[in-house]
């Protein structure tokens, strides 16, 4: 047993870290550090910097721009991205649509879409959830009716992250309503967001951030060539994505960075007695417990990785526990950061032109609010527990 990375792995980590530090633009770094809202151009700028270096899609096959890194290198790279505090790489194209096309797409689809995803020319979003279909995704109702060489799509998607930035959306749509099982009769369709009949309406969250949307489809005509895999076999595609490698789902690197920030921050904040807040045992105990949880998560993540490397077997449903613990930790850190500033957590939105205030401090409570999403999205933590219960424990 050896918990440390090998010399080669450490050298790789140092190389990645040095390059990221040298190439992450300062304004983007500051925006991330201050929890500013990242727009389409911010996200694509960083995407293109990585694409130019050849590092934007490490897990893709070499011929499509992958790096040929092994599992551990890929993990280290993702951890370092989180640790350096870069804008996130938007997963919808790189880790969702891309892998789906690589596995199920036709040659023409691959050639058409993959290079544009890689180069950051197309911004993708995901059309899964509907107002009546959240955790019960397979009950979705958005309908696609075949009409000659086209599908006609009618319905509504919701919680569409960054839909307002997107050029394309990949959707699960119902192509047959008469199947015995609701999972059958679903298809995976690629839709141009500029198509007539698509309306995007922002859904403002409680932190007032512009992040998710409702997307309405009214007689939207989609070329039949945009169907991925077979008609009515979309659930197979969706399941593949769920089972697709989710090794970084715990986001250990980003949480390490946030925890280090929180510790420095809590050392600078006075407690009631004027001593640094970090010396307040009641605050400190909460902080230490989060730190320990994060250590345990990191080691658990590495153990899964090591197991996968040795056996070639993906840990499967157990990855769900990385999502559960990872999001609990992310939430706990945002909560402690908000608590650390005490009454100063209240300023929220400036009123009047002269009402300036410390944007970082004022951002802590909205961030706490925003991060409540993490235990809900990408399969709520309750759904993750259902998955472990069924797949791992056999209940």
């Amino acid at each position: 047993m050896d918990l440390n990375y090998s010399q080669e792995e450490l050298a790789f980590r140092d190389e990645v870290r040095a390059w990221l530090n040298a190439n992450l633009p300062q304004d983007l770094r500051d925006k991330v550090a201050n929890y500013g809202e990242l727009g389409r151009e911010d996200l694509l700028r960083w995407h293109r910097i990585l694409a130019k270096k050849g590092w934007v899609a490490p897990a893709w096959p070499k011929e499509w721009g992958g790096t040929d890194w092994n599992l551990v290198q890929r993990y280290i790279f993702e951890e370092e991205l989180g640790f350096v505090g870069s804008p996130p790489l938007i997963p919808f194209g790189l880790s969702m649509c891309g892998p789906v096309l690589l596995r199920f797409g036709s040659e023409a689809q691959k050639r058409r879409f993959l290079p544009r995803i890689y180069d950051g020319e197309d911004f993708w979003c995901q059309g899964y959830s509907e107002p009546g279909s959240g955790s019960d995704l397979a009950s979705l109702k958005t309908k696609a009716t075949r009409d000659g060489n086209e599908y006609v799509v009618n319905g509504q998607k919701i919680w569409t992250t960054l839909g307002h930035c997107a050029d394309w959306i990949f959707c699960l749509v119902r192509t047959d309503s008469n199947m015995a099982k609701k999972q059958e009769g679903i298809s995976f369709l690629l839709i141009d967001m500029k198509s007539p009949g698509i309306t995007v309406r922002p859904l403002v969250l409680m932190d007032l951030g512009r992040e998710v949307n409702e997307v309405f489809f009214e007689d939207v005509r989609v070329p039949a060539g945009n169907l991925v895999y077979e008609e009515n076999k979309g659930w197979t595609v969706a399941k593949y994505l769920l089972g697709h490698e989710r090794m970084n789902t715990g986001r250990v690197g980003a949480s390490k960075r946030e925890l280090a920030k929180l510790k420095a921050f809590a050392s600078a904040q006075p407690g009631n007695d004027g001593e640094p807040l970090i010396r307040d045992p009641r605050f400190r105990d909460k902080l230490t417990r989060v730190e320990v949880e994060l250590m345990a998560l990191e080691i658990t993540n590495l153990r899964f990785l090591d197991q996968m490397r040795r056996t070639g077997q993906s840990p499967g449903a157990d990855v769900s526990m990385l999502k559960i613990k990872g999001t609990e930790i992310q939430q706990a850190i945002t909560e402690l950061a908000m608590q650390a500033v005490g009454p100063l957590a209240q300023p929220f939105v400036p009123v009047g032109s002269d009402a300036e205030f410390d944007a970082f401090t004022a951002g802590l409570a909205p961030r706490y609010c925003n991060y409540r999403k993490t235990t809900i999205y990408a399969g709520s933590n309750e759904i993750q527990r259902n998955i472990i219960s069924k797949m791992t424990l056999g209940l």
């Binding site: 047993m1 918990l3 250590m295 345990a296 090591d306 259902n386």
Partner: protein, 373 residues
């Protein structure tokens, strides 16, 4: 990076596990606990044959010079089977002898421990000291030809079974260790909550020779800290074995116990709770790896202490969480002395506090962490 046991570590763990399954099953263990000695001479002899007693001791005395990582699989198996042998006590005292003893002391004790012919105990904890290793009121004053010890030690694990006891006492120079024959000590023996044998030891003008001093006078505290961290790493691994048993047996119960005409494992309220138990098990296992690795090969004392405290915080929380849930999910049966799970509950309850509960280690971690900034 590699989380595997080596082939040797795995082989030893497997053979210990096989032996315990065969000769230390729950019914046998009950008889052992109820016996006069409260432990099994046969089991001890077998463990010695397998090399378990010698594993953490130096090769020059017949041992294998192993560390905490080498013992992880064995301790896990102990936790699974709820072994009540005075192994931890013997290892702690023997490692102090190995670390601090002179040639005569090491030579008279270690080969016999390795061969399974001598069991030891460490008498350190005192009433009112809680988990503070530095608090020692027992006094050792120099007298003609040696030392005189005066004081009281509590919850000395394995004391009734030990041939020799390592006793800590304060001299003019600070905390020191003495190697004392059991016959010189007066015991009040009892069975602990987790069914091991222990005793409160009173030292009333106990005279020992000059050759009883173990290591440098006044130099014992760092050694006690080191051996306690080592033992903490071992109970972390033991806890993982016990937690795994508690999870598995509870899962089995959820699949077989029927109410309202269906197995109770079909109820989501219970499914989510057992999932959380398994998650706690994985997280605990990860931290047991951290504790053992750093107990063996930390770059500094501070690094070792931080890692062991972090692990013990997580393990203590997991011990309480999983043991409490395993009883709750068994319903009334979980309360019954008949079921092994209630005995696992008791061992996990003790491990949660042994060598410091979560709060103690939260305090130590915070102090060390702040010191480093």
């Amino acid at each position: 990076m590699n989380f595997d046991y080596s082939e040797e570590q795995q082989l030893l763990a497997d053979s210990v596990r096989r032996f315990l399954a065969k000769d230390y099953d729950f019914e046998t263990r009950k008889k052992i606990v109820a016996s006069d000695e409260g432990c099994s001479a046969d089991a001890w002899a077998t463990l010695a044959e397998m090399g378990v007693t010698g594993l953490p001791l130096p090769a020059e005395f017949g041992g294998f010079g192993g560390g905490a990582v080498d013992l992880m699989g064995v301790m896990e198996a102990f936790g699974d089977a709820l072994v009540v042998e005075p192994y931890l006590a013997t290892v702690m005292a023997a490692r102090l002898v190995a670390r601090a003893g002179n040639e005569a002391q090491r030579g008279s004790v270690l080969p016999r421990v390795v061969e399974g012919r001598m069991r030891l105990a460490l008498a350190h904890t005192e009433r009112g000291a809680r988990y503070n290793l530095a608090q020692v009121k027992t006094a050792a004053k120099p007298v003609a030809g040696g030392w005189q010890l005066e004081g009281e030690k509590v919850v000395v694990l394995g004391a009734p079974l030990a041939e020799k006891v390592v006793v800590s006492a304060r001299t003019a120079k600070g905390t020191s260790l003495f190697l004392v024959d059991r016959g010189a000590l007066r015991f009040r023996a009892y069975r602990t909550l987790d069914e091991m044998r222990a005793a409160d030891v009173s030292l009333q003008a106990v005279e020992v020779g000059a050759d009883a001093l173990l290591g440098e006078e006044g130099g014992a505290l760092p050694l006690l800290e080191e051996v306690t961290d080592f033992a903490t790493a071992l109970v972390c691994a033991e806890a993982v074995g016990a937690i795994k048993f508690a999870c598995d047996t509870t899962l089995e119960y959820l699949k077989t116990r029927k109410q309202f005409g269906v197995p109770i494992g079909t109820f989501q309220a219970l499914q989510h709770r057992i999932v959380d138990m398994y998650i706690a098990h994985e997280q605990a296992r990860s931290m047991a790896c951290v504790a053992a690795s750093r107990a063996d090969s930390a770059q500094s004392v501070r690094e070792r202490q931080l890692a062991v405290s972090a692990a013990k915080i997580k393990i203590a929380d997991a011990c309480r969480h999983v043991s409490q849930e395993s009883v709750q999910l068994h319903g009334g049966m979980g309360m019954s002395e008949e079921l092994k799970v209630s005995h696992t509950f008791r061992r996990l309850t003790v491990i949660a506090q042994q060598f410091g509960d979560a709060e103690h280690h939260l305090g130590r971690f915070a102090a060390l962490d702040t010191e480093g900034t």
